[in-house]
Symmetry: C2
Subunit: 467 residues, 2 copies
């Protein structure tokens, strides 16, 4: 087995690096105090840390030059998109240079006949869909934040409609990646499928900036749905709601979204939005298809819901009615932030086999309660991925420890039942400790070897992903 221990060829020479970057980028290299602060923090509860400088490149070639400079002077590089990471992935915990993609937000190409487009990494997902508006196509991956496509590539992001349209793992057709030593790598193909050699694209998707710097992404697009129908229903128990979700999928109905809100989340939403939903688990279901397909699906869903003892079944077709029904779901993030007035959210993100979902949620709720937390639960139950939101005051060490204990036990159990510590948010800083449990020693050793191969000096976002 090859090991590539991070032995620096020489000590870090920050001054030389900063001088070279200033010569390369002019005023697009900054060491201003507020710029450093803005680029040393994300949306997680990990402690911010200032970088030693921030670059604002505009091209792949500039990023290549930045990497060569940092490589030569042993300076870490951390990519920054929208700053919406929730796992600390973009915090420069070893200092170094943050490279922002703020000046790389262009849509480079759209090919409607081939259902694909190519974007720069800083482009936000909402801006992408706005740019695609007249094409008849859309980009479906919709994490909670208006994240950058580069950041979404880095974390293998997904969202509410992954069950139908897939995650970034399915969406990314090809990449341009700048490697640690400045070489420019192209992966993938614009063909819809290929059997030609090793899959380098998937190696970089989800690597959280630790294997290379993504500078272009080619994405698969989908036709806009002909019709969108929404249904909601409440249930006596979480088990019933989960079983209804599984039954809906077993029927092969054209569901695009299957979202679960537990009674605590409903309470938070009622408090925030002024709604008056009963304090019971709710399923929010959305269908994408033709008029006849959706009518048929809604009818079947009504029967499934009745079989599972569901109540308060409502169905909406028009944009206005759908917005009213989905309001509760849309307001979840804000509702959590306002619920019991926490200072920070510790958001769990396990994904488990569907057969273990109800059990995982029940254990999580019980453990949270025993430790004094009213933790709302929001689930992408079509995928077995759910978020339990622990509301913590970071200055209360006891509360933090209790929350971390709940989160860790949740992950341990998820792994034991064949699931994963993180369905869509990434490993970042805080989940490195679960990697060996989840993957085993051999897999983690191989990941370390791959990291050592691609980044022998450990400069690409050090301290993330691998324990």
């Amino acid at each position: 087995m090859n090991t590539h221990t991070a032995k620096p060829a020489a000590p870090r020479d920050l001054e030389a690096a900063r001088d070279a970057l200033a010569r390369l980028l002019g005023d697009r290299f900054s060491t201003g105090s507020s710029v450093l602060d803005q680029h040393g923090r994300d949306e997680s509860w990990h402690r911010p840390q200032r970088p030693d400088g921030v670059c604002f490149p505009e091209t792949t070639e500039e990023i290549s030059e930045i990497c060569k400079i940092c490589f030569a002077h042993e300076v870490p590089i951390v990519a920054f998109g929208a700053g919406s990471s929730v796992e600390g992935a973009l915090i420069p915990t070893s200092g170094g240079i943050v490279v922002s993609t703020e000046r790389m937000q262009q849509l480079l190409n759209v090919d409607t006949a081939n259902f694909d487009c190519t974007v720069q990494p800083g482009m936000r997902r909402i801006a992408l869909n706005e740019a695609l508006r007249d094409s008849g196509l859309f980009f479906p991956v919709d994490p909670g934040a208006d994240a950058s496509i580069g950041g979404m590539t880095a974390t293998r992001a997904s969202g509410t409609n992954a069950m139908r349209y897939g995650t970034m793992a399915d969406a990314v057709r090809g990449l341009v990646v700048v490697l640690a030593d400045g070489r420019i790598l192209r992966t993938g193909t614009r063909a819809r499928k290929s059997a030609a050699g090793y899959d380098l694209t998937h190696l970089f998707v989800g690597s959280e900036g630790t294997l290379g710097f993504v500078t272009e992404i080619t994405l698969r697009l989908f036709p806009l749905p002909e019709e969108t129908d929404t249904a909601i229903s409440s249930f006596d128990t979480l088990d019933d709601a989960v079983n209804a979700a599984v039954a809906i999928q077993q029927c092969g109905l054209p569901a695009a979204r299957l979202e679960l809100l537990d009674d605590v989340m409903i309470d938070a939403v009622n408090a925030f939005s002024g709604t008056d939903l009963p304090l019971r688990p709710h399923l929010f279901i959305e269908f994408h298809g033709s008029r006849p397909a959706n009518d048929h699906a809604i009818e079947l869903v009504g029967e499934i819901v009745k079989d599972m003892g569901g109540s308060d079944f409502e169905w909406a077709r028009t944009q206005e009615d759908r917005n009213r029904l989905w309001k509760a779901r849309h307001d979840c993030a804000h509702a959590c932030k306002n619920y019991r007035r926490p200072k920070r959210l510790l958001t769990c993100d396990v994904c488990v086999p569907l057969s273990a979902l109800a059990e995982s949620i029940a254990r999580a709720r019980a453990d949270a309660r025993e430790n004094g937390f009213d933790a709302p639960i929001l689930g992408h139950v079509g995928d077995g991925n759910y978020h339990m939101v622990l509301l913590v005051d970071p200055d209360d060490a006891d509360e933090v420890a209790r929350a971390q204990g709940v989160a860790d036990r949740l992950v341990d159990h998820a792994i034991e039942v064949g699931g994963t510590s993180t369905g869509e948010h990434g490993v970042g800083i805080g989940k490195r400790k679960h990697m060996v449990h989840e993957h085993g020693e051999v897999a983690v050793d191989l990941m370390r070897d791959i990291k050592g191969l691609l980044d022998p000096r450990n400069l690409m976002n050090p301290g993330k992903v691998l324990p």
Copy 2:
């Protein structure tokens, strides 16, 4: 850049390896003449070569022991499933030991609530679907051959319904892989999605046995479609047929199969099957969905076909009528083998962006004709992947050279328009020469580095995939 040149630690010691394998496996290690012959050939037109022995292991642990023995004695290892490769991937061109998965054909687990199953690599895809018959679920990847799941994993196989259900890249959730030195690696998760670290699963899927030996595969399953409807239509030109296929997809209709047969293929099918289809390009379309969804889709398809000047539109719902309509498509492989009585088929497998498909096919047909070939064309036009079948006598050196020239020019052009040399068959022996053109030097160097990392002695299926 790290380079891992294949420097053997010692010369190959075949005798010691064979002795150790005989002690390990008893009569499940064979050097019998016909056994060696059977395991030195595939369905391609590459020259067969006998291995130096064939193993028939039954467990992952046995395969680990086999790898340790071969690693210690510098003996190559080549995996063998159903033997249905069409690219020479399983021919032991450097001699060594073939490891057959013939005694590893079990279905290990099915979880209907989680829509997955786990199989041993020797299990054939048709046997898998037979075993799943009462579960309500099916495994959708359907290459032409009744291939082994292990072989399909090795080549990132796909088939006629990849446009709806994906390829092996989408189907494989996790693997057990024995590495060159005998370590046992587990990849992936039974969760539907994960953002936890590097994607090792996709590294091995499509690696054609050159990075490790797959001993277990966990697969995603789908609910059986409620209804299946089939339509066919003929067109004046290939362009019209391709444009109809693109239009069908842009409408978001629930198409599961979109297959194109050109007039030469129709001629071959008529000759073989006794059908009387007009000698024009034909589209075969299949929908999977509810009754209302399919009725709506067929109606819309009828309009699209009319817009594109299509004729002879027929539609079938019952199993019997669908079989009659699809017979022409089903008989294509046999029809090719009987057309003009060739000795071997050289099957091209490019996949191009849909926007370039009509042009690619037109050029291919013209070049084939100019070089004296009546080459039938069969296309998975939903994906942009098509097969032009060159019918050659391998003893006619001039004919072989002309065929190879046509095939190479077809690949060159496909790559130039953003496509790939192989959509689903793999690189094997014959397409290594295209790898640098398709991927670029940096990517091929990285693939070599990864190969060197995982297989420093170059024993895992040497001489395949990488130039």
